[in-house]
Symmetry: C2
Amino acid sequence: MSTMTSSETSTDSAEASGEDTGEFALIARMAARLKGGLPEGVVGIGDDCAALPLSGGGVQLLTCDVMVDGRHFKSGATGMADVGWRVATASVSDICACGGLPGYALVSLVVPPHQTTDSLEALYEGLAEAEADYGFRVIGGNVSGGALLSVDMFMLGETPRFVSRGGARPGDRIAVGGTLGDSAAGLALLESATGAASGTDELVRRHRRPRAEVALVPLIQRVASSAIDISDGLSAELHHLAQASGARMDIQGALLPLSQPLTAFAQARGESPLRWALHGGEDYRLLFTFPPQHLGDIGASPVTVIGEVGEGSGVFLDGAPLPRGGWDHLAPERSDREP
Amino acid sequence: MSTMTSSETSTDSAEASGEDTGEFALIARMAARLKGGLPEGVVGIGDDCAALPLSGGGVQLLTCDVMVDGRHFKSGATGMADVGWRVATASVSDICACGGLPGYALVSLVVPPHQTTDSLEALYEGLAEAEADYGFRVIGGNVSGGALLSVDMFMLGETPRFVSRGGARPGDRIAVGGTLGDSAAGLALLESATGAASGTDELVRRHRRPRAEVALVPLIQRVASSAIDISDGLSAELHHLAQASGARMDIQGALLPLSQPLTAFAQARGESPLRWALHGGEDYRLLFTFPPQHLGDIGASPVTVIGEVGEGSGVFLDGAPLPRGGWDHLAPERSDREP
């Protein structure tokens, strides 16, 4: 992982992280500075999206995500079309995590003087592919000079019902879409240039072209008591849900959905695939809770029940406390947090 | 001016700039890639703001502006509260230029590992001052690590009527709020550390704390046929209006509103203050056109009529063609474009 970590998805709440210089502490400080009551129905700092009530009914969702050269990609080494796709995916995924679908976006580019035209064309191509695939439209933005390439995306979406991080109740089940840890393993493969094991192409593809789970949005709308997207790793996101909901999250390792390529990859390294599934970032899967009466509703969906919400606080794996192993993006050294 | 230039205000249209690597060419390329019809009432790339029709009537405005260390400010030398204020001012000014008032904002921060807590507190303080002064609310954002500090602001506003760049008609008058060129002169003073002439404090203040002209918004709503804000200098913005409106802009040098401190500053350097007024950036004044029957309406307002819209194209000062002297922010060397 080293320096290539996901940007924290937007508007994350203040956390008692105990790390003064960490991302969450910075957000807490910003939230405290920019404090004060918001009008009825407005959701401010503290969830995947901010939200504004629409006069015609429903809720407008707002989020932003950035990719910075040297941090989220490596100019020259990373395909720029992938950068465009990934930054759009990160924003779309935030919108989906609040139960919504994306609508419009602005793109703010900082471009170094010697950036090649071809690389920018590729970036735009990746954005255009994401537009077509996810069904949103870029309607504006900004271009500025600067020493480092960065792509900041601001996205609007809509939902009939805002699904927050804070609605999980004891007895609810915990579910996740797709499989876990593939993107992080793909990045490790890209960085190590080892691999060649069967299925590694699929892991690399899951890193380069993760896909936001727009197809799960109707289900989330119908059943979810709380939801979040997995940008920083399952364990980190479970901690967000637990804290925002004032509840305890119990998951079982044997239930975590693992892809065959991830299992093979971990086996080849003599590792447990669980570490990747628990702490790997940029999966952009949806993690949500739902009341048990909806267990029948989700039967046909590509989601996996991985645990249950309980009374109390904290996150537990097979009964033992699970520390937040995701990446705090401002920590200067994150190798100690690698999966 | 050197490397510290204003970020181009959002969603600028493609221009026949003839500079392949320039900002406007990049925007043109992005617009071409992200092409395709937009729904009725949606305004895409090409104005100060993008716009979405609101179901309850009126229009939602969207814009973004970024400040990057080494480009728009100098970390360590520039007061961080000023950076927060200026990035908010740039966005608010875009909203005003479309006839609207700001409502909500997201802030996307990229923070280097060793950024001091105090400097970030100061940045938030500047943002909070701008919130209170302009009457918008920060309701979300994103914090990411990266090698260079940058502050990207996404802002939403509302207007009953979208005032575009493209509505100027022959016979309309051209007007501007406040005085011109003060901010650019203030930056020159900060960079040269000369000065001490009387009034220089006021110029420096105008650079450090420019003020978006929210008070002019009701007038713009009532009378403007087209409008834009002055972020890149009067000459550049006149060219935008001329091109978007398909009309000719004729201004008179003797009519340009100059502050006493700017006149004294230019005199002390043996220069004409007109160069600063024509090409100085980051004034955040509103430049607009209006039909002559409204001349009576604007009598009491702090605006100055500086010229008239004509048939044809291009921008003319006292009858002679006025080249666009503003800054194209991606040009690697801009000292040749200094006022």
